[in-house]
Symmetry: C2
């Protein structure tokens, strides 16, 4: 199975229009040869970039043709001129493709509060359209043009057999900081050649995002620009006909989103540890999510992990302030498979050996509630990074 191929009927390009002083690629296009069913999940921030406002109006949609993305400038907090710029970006792409502006979605990522350099973008769009390709490599090139502080391009492609034949699904994403649930400074685009309705796209995407992009956090800061889009152009000719087909397809989209989301955490700014936070035994998924998120966002948990320190008191105390009325006497915690706290009591363990294991850079926390109020059978899994001096250096030196 190819890992960098586009589903049938999709083209992509990544090019440089000059937004970034570095001269790196900053303009990205995903286009379908035919109209797509499309859905989007967006930041819930009250302060949003103009592209979010515009794309939100256009999804779910039945006649979407493509997505234009620029990196280096988020077109957020840019007032009315920002709204005009976002609209103009889609109009310019539509003109080159021969479709309507309303058929194009738009995303921008980068610095906040600075007007887009529209001359550069408008000059760059014809080149970006000319560069559109169906070939292997185009997906990665497009993903690279979405990057801001990312150190590697994040994309993958896979096929999924359904009862009447196989469909292809690919995805590309960016994000390395300002990463928080609902969502990150992250952009994601998922393309499939399955035959789907806009409503199916919406349901599948929301389900996938709630278990993946909404379960990652680097610094708890929800961005103004977060967007994940799903476009389905039907060019495989394969329709999910049974409930089982829909479940298989949903699971495949979720797997693509999970790989992209965890790649964002692996690329988290300054991170030295990849951390999985598994919370089990709560009455509702929402409770498990809140506990997992509180642990994942604690600066003290993160810095302990930075120091390879199995400081479990920081973890249990972070769980304790998530606002869930559990009884600590029923709480247990494992770090990398080692039980350090059981039913509210410390457990003796080999601290030196556990700390050495944490130095591998992978840390798994398993927090389990086994009785008392708020206990049940729901779980949540979060992914996060540690907090390093390098994160602080990067984010205190990145200037407006």
């Amino acid at each position: 199975m190819m890992t960098d191929s586009l589903p049938s009927g999709f083209l992509a390009s990544g090019s440089t229009c000059g937004i970034k002083d570095s001269g790196k690629p900053d303009l990205c296009l995903f286009v379908s040869e035919v109209d797509c069913a499309a859905a989007g999940v967006y930041t819930t921030n009250r302060v949003v970039g103009a592209p979010v406002v515009l794309s939100r109006q256009r999804t779910p949609g039945a006649v979407i043709r493509g997505v234009v993305i620029n990196s280096g400038n988020a077109n957020a907090c840019t007032g009315e001129s920002g709204d005009r710029d976002a609209h103009e970006m889609t109009a310019a792409v539509a003109q080159s493709l021969g479709c309507l502006p309303e058929q194009i979605l738009v995303c921008s990522t980068g610095i906040i509060g600075v007007p887009l350099p529209m001359d550069k973008i408008l000059n760059g769009i014809p080149t970006a359209v000319e560069g559109l390709s169906t070939e292997d490599g185009a997906l990665t090139k497009a993903a690279a043009a979405m990057m801001t502080t990312d150190t590697f391009a994040k994309s993958l492609s896979q096929s999924q057999p359904l009862s009447t034949g196989s469909v292809s699904i690919c995805g590309a994403a960016k994000g390395a900081a300002m990463i928080a649930p609902n969502m990150a400074t992250m952009l994601g685009v998922v393309l499939t050649d399955a035959v789907l309705t806009p409503q199916q796209c919406d349901t599948i995407l929301k389900e996938a995002v709630s278990h993946t992009f909404n379960c990652i956090t680097v610094d708890g800061h929800m961005s103004t620009s977060d967007t994940v889009l799903l476009l389905a152009n039907g060019q495989s000719g394969i329709t999910p006909v049974s409930d089982d087909d829909v479940q298989q397809l949903t699971a495949a989209v979720r797997r693509v989103c999970e790989k992209l989301a965890t790649d964002i955490i692996r690329d988290a700014e300054g991170a030295a540890h990849f951390v999985t936070v598994d919370v089990r035994g709560f009455a509702t998924r929402d409770q498990a999510v809140r506990v997992a998120r509180q642990i994942s966002e604690s600066a003290l948990v993160k810095t302990a992990i930075t120091g390879n320190d199995p400081n479990w008191g920081r973890i249990t105390s972070a769980a304790g302030y998530a606002g869930i009325p559990f009884d600590a006497a029923h709480l247990s915690l494992q770090i990398n498979g080692v039980t350090v706290y059981k039913h509210g009591n410390p457990v003796a363990y080999d601290e030196v050996s556990l700390s050495a294991d944490m130095q591998r850079g992978e840390v798994s926390l398993l927090l389990e509630l086994t009785g008392g109020p708020a206990s049940g059978s729901e779980a949540a899994c979060f992914w996060t990074s540690d907090l390093t001096q390098e994160y602080v250096r990067l984010n205190s030196e990145y200037t407006t």
Copy 2:
């Protein structure tokens, strides 16, 4: 007015019993010659230290005689033996003083999950009781014995004229990280010789804490041990007789708490900037508090301030994910008195000069909502610190 005197009828001591490897003071006593009305405000964490459980049972109280505090070990996540140890600490102090265990409150701060070294504490209590003094200097000495990673002792004393005469109020606090609203790894003790009922103590303390200790945040991590206590022994003979008297006294207690709370922020681990976050124009105080807190806890806002960068997009976007349905078109922001964002639009300003001003180490943010949904006349003021490489170094090297 003396800044280190105890109110009439109170004694204090700070001594060393050997909990800390450093040999620094770690045992602190505040005692009244007569029974006190007393109240407490405690962490709302579900995972709490044994001393919190015990002191919570004993407040509000009418016959409290004193408070025993150890630093270096939080007696939290220590199971049933932790409960016994907390009780035994109060019993040992009560025996030395000739009162009942129930008349003594207890606090512990320091490492989580390690049993208290009770032999050292029980050996140290008679010395601590012998050291009790009414003299100037005793308050600071007691405050020093509460310190963990604090770099200076936090205490003050002041008098407050009421309609029938003056009362004295003093306070001592500790805290330098794991600082979050509701509350910090912070302990605070406020003593007054005013004549108050337990119910009055409770009301006055809650009011004071909600505007001071609950409005500071270093790292958003709510501790298992946070406690603020107010003891009133009536030895001034002055009773607040009018509503005006009660208001004056409440304001005085709030001023003492504000000084202690802001001292905690000034002493925040690794901090290079003292940040005031003033949020105005919201419909309810709770909304203003949530916005102020979200800004104060953003790692991206903090690191921008570390770098003396007036990166206002990080500030407005943090406000945007506080969960308050405001309209960004009515939002304005000043940094150190300079308007950088007005009614949803960026404002041109002298970035070099503003950045130079931020280098003084004091940063004031004023975020104002002037119309639309969620607007009104309520405000909140938070105090926070920046996030530095030194914070990360300190918290990744502090081991269990």
